[in-house]
């Protein structure tokens, strides 16, 4: 208990001193210096989580720190410790990754601001996780949002980054507004700001629960509120994208889990809604990821997908709870928590990979990459591991959590008496399989086009392997993915007390019944043996190296390789109605029948949600603003008229009441 508090205090002190030092010495001290502070802070945080696993302590700040109506209240329990540990782990790797990565941004970033915002961001994330009442939560939530927005805009000379930051700021403010509405309502009804006293998703609290859910969903990037995500993640520097995608959006999900799951009765409608929205998110996210050709944007859309999967887990848990199916609830919540951790790990790993490519090739556009396998073999190995994990290939960690989701859905279908629940869970199994197939397609595209084949541009040709520290960061994460996958049953049983607390049932023992560790050993052992005895070094004749088979047409050029767009084309064509996908070709010299001079083909995709919902909405608000500003026309006579109108109106109101 005491070590835990000491460690937490150390972490916070390190975070705050990092802020202070960054403001004063941001552009004088080296990146390594700040990275070391961040590193030690993250270590402290991680061990806080470890030592806090078995304690449940509540701490209230003493007076001058007070939020007007509620004190600063912190609570470290097992659920918070889990997310704190994730934050510590990802920050640890980000700190290792940072110095090498930031080198190529030296001309473009203001490091005082960058490090200040980063330290604020990490510290506030830790405090959001620890918050035990609404005010503490909201204050650090806002701090977290603003500091991350500043980080998105860190590379502020690019107009794209500025735009992204603004979109993100707008989204996050709306999220706060929705949350504020819900919190106020709860306070008005319960008279307490403490989360422990609130019962969300019950019949009496439908509207505030929906508000809170909307607020958290915006932040989590759940469909249809995910719009900001594909803008913000690519624009931010890579360590930030990793933290945002790996941890920040998880914190929103953490809040959903904390607020919705840990108190008895809930309405089944909430479970059903979350399940449905999670399914749509997963499908929508992966589908849009498939047609992206910016590597980080692709990863950002995958976050939408994975958030969807986690939301499915939460929905299952809620529904199981409401239908008194403890097995389903237990599977759902374990899956959600497990997937949160997993996604945090492999998504930051993938972002680091994308960042390493960006730092080395100075582009993230898949159409300019290719053939990096030779130059960056370690990065590629880590990237492939991360991709395999996100595609849920066994025996990696992604599979374990996705398996739990499948099991939860399957158990629901078996046990429920509601036809709606059974049907929905069966449909969910199908959609999840579809999503899995799409994810495989998407990541094989990303790896294939960036690492394999031949370089498509001069930059890609000139690439070299990332700095050792950057590789270490990736390797740690990749190894964690493998280990967590192989040891998934043990990890899942670690989470069991949590899910038992949420469902109110007794611990159901081992959830993952698959022998994943033996499977991993058999698979890798078998692969090694086959390599050694059939293919590898024990053979007498070494392989002959020659050009790729070109069907006798003559030399192949890099431009003849398949591009990201053409790889995804057949699938995109199938899902045309959702993607609004169409190909545009431009042929000069078309009149020469079979001998045109130049053909340019491109695929255009518009987001239905963006073009049909959000843009018109924004346009409407802007129009309203324009109409309002017309009032201020500059004529003093008009202004006097307003006064007269106001006077008459108030008099009428006064007479009426």
């Amino acid at each position: 208990m005491n070590t835990c508090i000491d460690l937490l205090r150390a972490a916070l002190v390190l975070g705050l001193s990092g802020c202070g030092l960054a403001v004063v010495y941001g552009h004088r001290f080296s990146q390594t210096f700040f990275s070391v502070i961040l590193l030690s802070g993250s270590v402290a945080l991680f061990f806080t989580a470890l030592s806090g696993w078995n304690v449940d302590f509540i701490w209230q700040a003493s007076l001058p720190i007070y939020f007007g109506v509620a004190p600063l209240l912190i609570r470290l329990d097992r659920l918070a410790a889990l997310f704190l540990g994730l934050l510590g782990a990802v920050t640890f790797c980000a700190a290792i990754f940072s110095p090498g990565y930031l080198k190529h941004l030296e001309q473009r970033l203001n490091f005082s601001l960058y490090w200040f915002s980063l330290f604020t961001f990490v510290t506030s994330m830790a405090l959001v996780v620890l918050a035990a009442n609404a005010l503490t939560f909201l204050v650090f939530w806002e701090t977290m949002s603003l500091s991350s927005a500043a980080l998105v805009a860190a590379d502020h000379t690019s107009s794209a980054a500025r735009r992204s930051a603004l979109i993100y700021l707008g989204a996050t403010r709306l999220a706060t507004a929705a949350l504020a509405g819900g919190f106020l309502w709860f306070h008005a009804h319960t008279g307490s700001w403490n989360f422990a006293d609130w019962h969300l998703a019950t019949a009496a609290t439908v509207i505030p629960s929906i508000l809170i859910l909307i607020g958290l969903s915006i932040k989590a990037g759940v469909w249809p509120f995910h719009i900001w995500l594909p803008y913000a993640h690519p624009s931010a520097p890579t360590p930030v994208s990793a933290l945002m995608s790996g941890v920040m959006i998880k914190i929103a999900l953490y809040a959903i889990i904390r607020l919705f799951l840990f108190h008895g009765e809930t309405l089944p409608a909430f479970g059903i809604t979350l399940l449905t929205i999670g399914l749509i998110s997963a499908f929508w996210g992966v589908l849009f990821a498939l047609v992206q050709h910016d590597l980080k944007r692709l990863l950002a859309y995958h976050s939408v997908e994975n958030v969807g999967i986690i939301v499915i887990g939460i929905g299952l848990a809620l529904y199981g709870q409401s239908q008194h199916l403890p097995a389903v609830a237990c599977l759902g919540i374990t899956a959600a928590l497990f997937h949160c951790v997993n996604h945090g790990l492999f998504k930051s790993l993938l972002f680091f990979g994308a960042g390493a490519i960006d730092a080395s090739a100075h582009t993230r556009d898949l159409s300019h990459l290719g053939g990096l396998a030779k130059a960056m073999p370690v990065t590629m190995l880590c990237f492939v591991t991360g991709s395999a994990a996100i595609c849920a290939l066994p025996p990696l960690n992604g599979f374990a959590s996705k398996w739990l989701i499948y099991q939860g859905l399957f158990t629901l279908a078996c046990q429920t008496h509601s036809r709606l629940g059974a049907g929905l869970s069966c449909a969910a199994v199908g959609v999840l399989a579809l999503v899995g197939g799409l994810a495989v397609a998407c990541f094989t595209k990303a790896i294939g086009v960036s690492f394999l084949g031949r370089p498509r541009s001069h930059e890609a040709e000139q690439c070299s392997e990332a700095a050792p520290a950057m590789l270490v960061a990736q390797a740690i994460l990749a190894a964690t993915c493998v280990v967590l996958g192989a040891l998934a049953p043990a990890f899942a049983s670690l989470l069991t007390p949590l899910s038992a607390a949420a469902t109110g049932s007794l611990a159901t023992g081992n959830l993952i019944t698959l022998p994943l560790l033996p499977l991993a050993i058999i698979l890798s052992g078998g692969a090694c043996l086959i390599y050694l005895f059939v293919l590898g070094p024990l053979r007498q004749t070494p392989p002959r190296v020659c050009r790729t088979w070109e069907c006798g047409f003559g030399q192949l050029s890099p431009r003849m390789q398949v591009t990201a767009t053409s790889f995804a084309h057949p699938i995109a064509r199938i899902f045309k109605p959702v993607l609004l996908y169409k190909t545009v070709s431009e042929i000069s010299g078309a009149h020469q029948r079979h001998f045109p001079e130049r053909i340019k083909a491109d695929a255009v995709m518009t987001s239905l949600l963006e073009s049909k919902v959000y843009l018109p909405l924004i346009a409407a608000v802007r129009r309203l603003g324009r109409q309002t500003t017309r009032l201020q026309a500059g004529s003093i006579h008009l202004y006097l008229l307003y006064m007269l109108i106001a006077a008459v109106a108030l008099l009428i109101i006064g007479a009426a009441t």
């Binding site: 007070y66 007007g68 203001n110 909201l138 106020l184 202004y639 006064m643 009441t657």
Partner: protein, 484 residues
């Protein structure tokens, strides 16, 4: 009588100095000195009251310092001291530019500023609706020359609008005052009274229809002065065209005093109702809400830097009006405190930025973060403080206002306020990010005097500390818990 002399002496001496001293550099330093002295005296007089040591300090018949007034007095004096200190640096810098301001203009500015502060203090002190009216009219008349300082076409236009619209508004208020006086003649005190204390005592006997009529007219009048939508039309013009220190005082002090007048009247109104949902507080809450929403819509399409902050002031006025309507002086003051400091910083900084870039159009200012990081950071911090973002106290005060409305079940108000606050934050952040980020246009001829950021930095650091301790220290002092 002694303390009254003590309070007014620095201001009058300051005005006299402005008339006598020809050298504007010396005058600037002297003025700053007087302003700080005035602040010190105000604090010694007002602090005992605000800390609850003394219930009330009577300065003269009809003029006394009560708790709420004591907080606002200190706030006004602080803003004045800050603005006057900054104005010294501001005018020194201004003299390097063409057209150079004449020394007589600067002296007039200082003289009027002194009297303006005097008038504002009078508003806070007086216990009489008649004197209240006179002081508010005086603030208009004395601040008109401040707006008029640069004598450009726009400044003159702004002054004219300010003068005429506020005068008409104030005329309404006079009408209202007369009606209230008339309503008080139907009580046991047949001669009638304008004294607030007496009115509150007599409240149950007042002729309510007449009083309500009077209240509406007073609300219109003082609302005009405070910039309540749709009576706000003078405000963006005057705030944008006045020199930066004057804008800071207009926004940071004058708006508070106008709202303070409304607060005084509301006390009488709620006394008429014995705490039932009164007409006046409903009116204030709804007008405040409408003002917040309208201001946030105005913020979307803005071209001028200072006009932006002017509309943001209107938004904050709306919030303060809601606090006033909720009947909580603590909340009103907390919001006013945070807003005044933030807005003073913003106007002072904007003055610097306009001086340095030579443009007051948002579309022509870019890359401030590269030009002068210090100003950029201060601007962001102040904008955050003005739009209610933690860790600044405005977040807490806005939250308290929302929470108080929630406790009375005004969900529509909360919805509108939340949308207004969100929209204005988004709009302000769009504009601020345009100024702050990107590549600056002509960094060559750019000057950013260090002293120019002295006062803004001091104000912001105070606000920051305040934000961290708002809840604990300040709210326990202001008895917010009790007021809620």
């Amino acid at each position: 009588m002694n303390s009254l002399a003590l309070l007014t002496a620095p201001l009058l001496l300051w005005a006299v100095c402005a008339v006598l001293v020809k050298n504007t550099r010396v005058l600037g330093i002297l003025t700053a000195g007087w302003a700080w002295l005035y602040l010190a005296i105000t604090c010694t007089l007002a602090a005992p009251v605000s800390l609850g040591i003394e219930p009330q300090v009577t300065l003269a018949p009809g003029f006394s310092i009560d708790a709420t007034a004591s907080w606002f007095m200190m706030l006004t004096a602080t803003i004045a001291a800050g603005a006057m200190t900054h104005s010294h640096f501001f005018f020194q810098e201004e003299k390097l530019r063409e057209p150079r301001p004449k020394s007589t203009h600067i002296r007039l500015f200082y003289a009027c500023a002194a009297l303006f502060v005097f008038a504002m203090t009078a508003v806070l002190l007086c216990d009489n609706l008649g004197f209240l009216w006179i002081s508010i009219e005086a603030t208009t008349l004395l601040s008109a020359p401040l707006v008029y300082f640069s004598r450009t076409r726009h400044a003159i236009e702004a002054t004219w609008k300010y003068l005429i619209i506020c005068s008409v508004g104030i005329a309404f208020a006079l009408l209202g005052t007369i009606l209230i006086f008339a309503s008080s003649q139907h009580t046991s005190l047949s001669a009638g009274s304008l004294s607030l204390q007496q009115l509150i005592q007599l409240a149950p006997q007042l002729n309510y229809p007449l009083f309500k009529l009077g209240f509406i007219f007073c609300f219109l009048g003082y609302g005009t002065k405070a910039g309540v939508f749709p009576l706000h039309s003078w405000l963006p013009d005057a705030h944008a065209e006045a020199p930066a220190p004057a804008s800071a005082m207009l926004s940071g002090a004058l708006l508070n005093t106008a709202l303070f007048a409304i607060w005084r009247l509301l006390q009488v109104d709620s006394a008429c109702h014995h705490g039932r949902a009164a007409f006046g507080s409903n009116l204030a809450i709804w007008m405040g809400t409408i003002t917040v929403v309208a201001a946030s819509l105005f913020l979307i399409r803005q071209h001028g830097l200072k006009r932006l902050w002017a509309y943001s002031s209107i938004e904050n006025v709306g919030l303060m009006l809601v606090a006033v309507g909720l009947g909580s002086p603590g909340l009103f003051f907390l919001q006013a405190l945070n807003h005044s400091f933030a807005k003073a910083t913003l106007f002072l900084l904007s003055g610097n930025i306009i001086q340095s870039t030579g443009s007051k159009h948002l579309s022509e200012i870019h890359g401030l973060l590269k030009l002068s990081p210090m100003w950029g950071v201060l601007l962001v911090a102040a904008a955050c403080a003005a739009t209610g973002v933690p860790p600044f106290g405005s977040f807490i005060s806005e939250w308290l206002i929302l929470s108080a409305s929630a406790d009375t079940g005004r969900w529509l108000v909360i919805f509108l306020l939340l949308s207004g606050i969100s929209l204005s934050f988004i709009a302000v952040s769009i504009h601020v990010s345009r100024i702050l980020l990107g590549t600056p246009k002509a960094p060559g001829s750019y000057r950013h005097p260090v002293l120019g950021s002295l006062i803004p930095a001091a104000l912001m650091s105070f606000l920051f500390i305040l934000g961290l301790t708002t809840g604990g220290f300040v709210s326990s002092t202001l008895h917010i818990g009790g007021a809620l």
